[in-house]
């Protein structure tokens, strides 16, 4: 049986690559946006609500990543009083 060698460019290859590129872009946008929100004083709960996920999910994905930065993550459970 002949195996079709697909072209890496055009047609289905472009459509599949668009999915890959969008996923990567969404991940990087999320990393940057969560960090900016926390720096702006948002709580983990607020970030989670805005993303439409649970606070645990945001924690799991971003807490370790941001733990070594200069963002103060200790009081993030408290409601921000403005």
């Amino acid at each position: 049986m002949d195996t079709v060698i697909p072209d890496p460019l055009g047609g289905p290859a472009d459509e599949l690559a668009a999915v890959v590129a969008l996923r990567e872009l969404a991940d990087r946008l999320e990393d940057a946006a969560v960090e900016r929100a926390l720096r702006a004083g948002w709580s983990w709960s607020q970030v989670a609500e805005a993303l439409g996920v649970t606070r645990q999910a945001v924690h799991k994905k971003h807490l370790r990543r941001l733990a070594g930065t200069d963002i103060d993550l200790r009081r993030r459970n408290a409601r921000v009083v403005r």
Binding site: L25, D31, R64, T69
Partner: protein
């Protein structure tokens, strides 16, 4: 590293679920470099393209020499990757977003290896065993990465005008030189 970044790798890297037994000392160094490349680029996992970037960054190895002779060096491939991502986003009707808007601090404490990286290393391992070697060399990894017919690496090379099969031949013949 030439890639723009304040996200230098200092985290501990466990090697994910990579088949460690396949990796000899010099290729382990290459994998560490690929992890840094992935981290510098804000990638969530090490992909095949990060292995190729790592190979090209360390210009002294035989694979990088063979690829440079064919016109593919670190800067050329990095530019090709950027073009591929931009074109792929445009295929979905999305304009690329400025790098500064995507910048983020910190880095993931656990490194994961994507299917493309694992597949490239497995293919490299097959190349090394086919020449009855117990040691996987840089040229084997390069051959493994370049053996993929579809995906980010072949797309980037195609956009930049490289003939992937010619590059593959170049690294395979460099492998056979000893």
């Amino acid at each position: 590293m030439p890639a723009s970044s304040d996200r230098k790798s200092t985290a501990s890297h466990q090697g994910g679920s990579l088949p460690e037994q396949r990796l000899r000392a010099d290729v382990r160094g290459l994998v560490q470099l690929a992890i840094v490349e992935a981290s510098n680029r804000g990638a969530g996992a090490v992909e095949a393209e990060h292995l190729l970037l790592a190979l090209l960054f360390d210009r002294r190895n035989r694979a990088a020499t063979a690829l440079a002779a064919a016109g593919l060096d670190y800067d050329a491939f990095a530019a090709a990757l950027l073009t591929e991502r931009e074109n792929s986003l445009r295929a979905a009707g999305v304009e690329p977003i400025a790098a500064e808007r995507l910048a983020s601090a910190g880095q993931r404490s656990r490194t994961t290896f994507s299917a493309s990286a694992k597949q490239a290393l497995a293919a490299g391992h097959r190349v090394s065993t086919s020449r009855r070697s117990h040691t996987m060399r840089h040229t084997d990894v390069a051959a493994g990465v370049l053996s993929s017919q579809v995906g980010t690496v072949p797309r980037a090379l195609a956009y930049a005008g490289f003939d992937r099969s010619e590059l593959l031949k170049a690294v395979v013949s460099a492998t056979q030189e000893g």
